[in-house]
Symmetry: C2
Subunit: 298 residues, 2 copies
């Protein structure tokens, strides 16, 4: 049980965390701060936060749990703003989709207070962002990756594991670099490809005519191309080198596929298609929207 | 009302067409032929066909409507096998995903009987193929593209429009070349990219670990990579030049995106992401699984 949760950034992710903690009876009071006062006010009106704070520092004051839910690019400045009120008992976490840059920002900003900061990436979201879409069950059944630092206080790492587990998440522990490579592969690259592909069709003279014929395959393949551009620009830039690396792997396969097509190599083509088809049929979505049965591997 | 429907190829597409015509009360008798006798037998047992024919020619005999639902690569030989029993009153259609090669095959195989052949592409399907998955409502609410030939008898073209419309489809009429370009863009290229992408992740040493972290974005983006390899090899090869053309458009966008990433050009990156995101948000799936309200534009 936490006495006070401080939410910095009262959007979909921060707001849903506050609602989930309240629903689970794990927090007495929620204090919230957002850059835009109208957001914080909306969060209060919706019952997401109990008290509005006028700054990130004031949202930290008196909080034994602080959740940063700001764009990854704002991590360093936000941590710098709150560091004076981070006590050894305070658990501070973020929700960023990249981790190496968050760790670097924390190292620069927090000094000795870095012992309190446990980087976290809950793998959850919705197409519609904003506090109005905050949902007490957003994290239920999701995976959460923690990338604890050697300097973290072990009891705070345990607290981080416990709180996400109590919200019905499966908690995984990884090195920041492996985390970033994995998400470049399974999330950031597909977004980049979906954005590129959509533009490639739309830019053609007959693009809209073509798209008026598209079916469910197109719909699902391009769904992520509707994602929020500002957020994804940040993610691409902050995970730039891993993403470029993954793009190399993709180009390698694409080149081979194109070559087989040019050479009308039917059996070569079928071999790679079969490989993908069999692999994809075997793949199972790790987290569906249900409470995970698997015990956290931590 | 048709006296007899001859189905050549009793799989998902052919079987569903037979069931839909029966459900709509549009056919008295269905005769079916498949290369594999066990398939035809299953189709009879499931009530998809009433009578089993021992050859494609026998399935054509006495039929005023013939549907070819065989792999595109088998179009020419199948048409050649049935041509002697195609009368001027018989409407013959296919269900292939490409049209220029089907038209070419028909021209080679049918001679003067080509007046009876109206190429058709119903935009419908399921991941699970085979007659066991045949479904009387598979085509309901779908679009069907017809690419009639100059030599077609006009009353047969009208019959083709009428029968698909009666099954709840929206019927469109296009030139074969435009059809193939459109489907290379909105269907064949996404499949090629999804297959390539899946293999690119799976081929990495940590590929399965990465994929155990994947979420709904990955799931939807790669769904079509599970499609049947043999069928898609045929589609890729038969629409090869249009597909290679679409791949050029894609590479152009991908290169620009990669360059922006390499140069850390945040605003350039955001501009292309916003373009895609806004375009995709505006796009509406033309055919959902409901009876089309729009009258056929023919």
């Amino acid at each position: 049980m936490f006495q006070q949760l401080g939410i910095i950034g009262c959007g979909l992710m921060g707001g849903s965390f506050a609602l989930a903690l309240k629903k689970a009876g794990l927090v007495r009071r929620v204090v919230g701060y957002s850059k835009s006062p109208s957001t914080t006010e909306a969060a209060r009106r919706l019952g997401v936060v109990d008290v509005v704070a006028d700054s990130a520092l004031l949202a930290t004051s008196g909080s034994d749990l602080v959740l940063l839910a700001v764009p990854v690019s704002a991590t360093e400045s936000t941590l710098r703003a709150i560091r004076h009120l981070v006590s050894p008992q305070t658990l501070v976490m973020d929700v960023g989709s990249t981790k190496q840059d968050v760790v670097l920002a924390a190292q620069k900003a927090l000094g000795k207070h870095i012992e309190s900061f446990v980087p976290a990436h809950p793998i959850a979201g919705k197409e519609k962002s904003g506090v109005a879409n905050a949902d007490a069950d957003l994290y239920l059944g999701s995976q959460v990756v923690l990338t604890p630092l050697p300097s973290n206080r072990p009891e705070l790492v345990q607290k981080a594991i416990d709180v996400w587990s109590a919200l019905g998440c499966r908690v995984l522990r990884m090195e920041p670099r492996l985390h970033d490579a994995a998400f470049a592969a399974v999330s950031h690259l597909p977004h980049l490809l979906a954005y590129s592909y959509f533009n490639a069709v739309a830019a053609q003279t007959s693009g809209s005519d073509f798209m008026s014929l598209a079916g469910p395959g197109f719909r699902d393949f391009t769904r992520i191309a509707a994602s929020e551009p500002g957020m994804w620009r940040d993610i691409f830039l902050s995970n730039r080198s891993e993403l470029l690396q993954q793009l190399k792997h993709f180009r390698h396969q694409l080149d081979a596929m194109e070559r087989a097509l040019e050479e009308e190599d039917g059996s070569g083509l079928e071999r790679v298609l079969r490989q993908a088809s069999e692999g994809r049929s075997r793949w199972q979505e790790p987290s569906s929207r249900r409470r995970a049965i698997v015990k956290p591997k931590v």
